[in-house]
């Protein structure tokens, strides 16, 4: 149980927006610095222009709490075009709520983290399993990695075996179809099977 609560505490602490902003600030900062190493100055113009907007904008959002009132409003408030009359807005709100109830449980289920009783959040697992899919695909070829991915996904989400089997076959067929119709070497890995099978 302690492992579980540690994970829970970590995931509560982990503010996705902060991470996003840090990536943006570091990324754009790096991009800006690098432009001074370009040989051709014209090629630096656009990255500097866009990089500055990202850098300054992300910094403003990151530190919005500490900004003076006026500036803070500018950073946080929505511009709100297409404002309709009140009656209509209520209805729209109701619809959005309904939609949210059906569709966006992602917000509320964060603390329950898995709908199938697994120890990590479903979205996190999905992110991990597709990263693995890509890595295995790189090693042995996407064609061969595809059924493995589908089986791993089905096992985790406790899908019936026969269903997972059918999906694995369909997944393989999709990859095989791309390979034969488009002539893409999906059967080749970069580490194993480098010369392909078909």
């Amino acid at each position: 149980m302690s492992r579980k609560s540690l994970y829970r505490r970590l995931s509560e602490r982990f503010d996705q927006e902060r991470v996003l902003l840090i990536v943006l600030i570091l990324g754009s900062g790096f991009a800006l610095v690098e432009t001074f190493r370009f040989d051709i100055s014209a090629a630096a113009r656009f990255p500097r222009l866009t990089g500055s907007v990202v850098f300054v904008g992300a910094l403003l959002i990151f530190f919005s709490k500490y900004l003076p009132e006026g500036l803070r409003a500018v950073v946080e408030e929505s511009a709100g075009v297409f404002e309709a009359d009140e009656d209509f807005e209520k209805r729209q709100q109701k619809a959005e709520e309904q939609q949210q109830a059906g569709a966006d449980t992602a917000q509320t289920d964060r603390n329950e983290f898995s709908t199938v009783g697994r120890p990590i959040h479903d979205s996190v697992f999905t992110a991990l399993v597709i990263t693995g899919y890509a890595a295995v695909g790189f090693a042995i070829g996407i064609l061969w990695a595809t059924p493995l991915f589908v089986v791993a996904y089905g096992y985790w989400f406790k899908q019936p075996w026969h269903l997972t089997g059918v999906l694995a076959v369909i997944g393989f067929a999709i990859a095989f179809g791309f390979m034969s119709v488009l002539g893409v070497p999906l059967d080749r890995g970069e580490i194993f099977l480098t010369s392909g099978v078909f």
């Binding site: 996705q16 927006e17 904008g57 959002i61 209509f88 917000q107 597709i130």
Partner: protein, 495 residues
Amino acid sequence: MAFAAFSEALSLVFSWPTPLWVVIGLTLGMIAGALPGIGSSLGMAIILPLTLPLGPINAIILLVSMYSGAMYGGSISAILVNVPGTGGAAATTFDGYPMAKQGRAIDALSMSATASAVGGFLSVITLLLISPILIEAVLLFGSPEYFLMAILGLSMITIVADGSMVKGLVAGAAGLLITTIGIAPNSPELRYTYGSLGLYDGIDFIAALIGMFAIAEMLKLAGQEGGIADGDIDLTGSTLSGVKETLSHPGTIIKSGYIGMFIGAIPGAGATVSNFLAYGESMRSSDDPGSFGNGNPLGVISSEASNNGTIGGSLIPTISFGIPGSGSTAVLLGGLLMHGLRPGPQLFETDLHITYAFLIALLIGNIFIILIGVLVVTRLAKLTLIDTHIIIPMILVLSMVGGYTLRSNWVDVITVLLLGFFGYIMVRKDYSIIAFVLGVVLGPIAEENLMRSLQISGGSYDIFVTKPLSLLITAAIILILVGPYVKPALEKRLA
């Protein structure tokens, strides 16, 4: 010239196997639309790599047909399970779901098909009629104006999108920034490539689209309950009375269709906005506004006529200036570029026959919408009940395989993944994905035209304000970006 291109386009569209692509596109679109959580932009994004061997005309026809089909398809789940398949069908749930609960599901579905088809038909016919004027207008635009239009489009999106404008701007600029990886347009400088040939051409925007739409959405969907809804709605009602009732309200259809078209033509505002506006207008002008929300057929008709009406409008900025107004048109633009078709004068000059061909295909498509909608929709209805754990792995496989297929380049696979994770956080935290995606799609166009403008002017930025047209666009950009902040201050001072 226009006439010759038109007749060439006609013969193109009716030559085998093009009509087949129309039907396949519509059907795929309806499926994507009917599956809540998929929708048109995601569906189109994962189909993009598959259009590689098709050749430009059939590929674009397939994509616009998907767009059109998804606009209708979104109403299927809106009516049957109260969850709109696309944002453009949100207002359809207001009266569509109550109708279904009252045992008139089939009525509502056939109303939606008829209204969608007529609304779509109207707007595309209008677009065809005004295309000669559009051609003249497009020819007035040179390199400086194209750069400015790209910035204008991005600015518009930041004010329309959810979340604060600064967030929108950051998202858009981040999209633009990542396109600067790779060889610079119009100069042989390699940027951020560090000797890797895989990065020479930078980030593939289609990989970005797949990541942002497909992966991000699937990550979100994975965190939700398995089944989408319990299908307790009986498929009862009458097709014929649905079609008849729809056609007995031509005023509503025409008005809603044109509201859709007008809103669609504004970059940044797509069907997501227009269906609410059309619904609101229909309610406002009704004798019995109280019946709306309790199964009034006019609610379904207005919402559905407007979302398909949006298509004709949204194509205007997309094909004239390369500024898509929505996710779906961003993918469509991606398709155009992928097949070597450049928005702007070329689509109205040398490639005019292609432009006409896909407009004609859209027109024909609307007829198929009625046919498919009326004849096989009951089968499509079953789609709304598919478990998400079946959909998710299949979409992920398509995304991964499609991503690699683009250029047989692992950089694209990494792009799909990283931007997928990035997009997931952006959606949750109210950063506009559309602004980001638009940045990625517009980046090369914007930079290339910026550089070229400065080459023409010899380095002077005056070129963006010296001609009346460029001055006008520059003024519009400033107004949009500053307006929302200045307006309240002005009002305060006046009061």
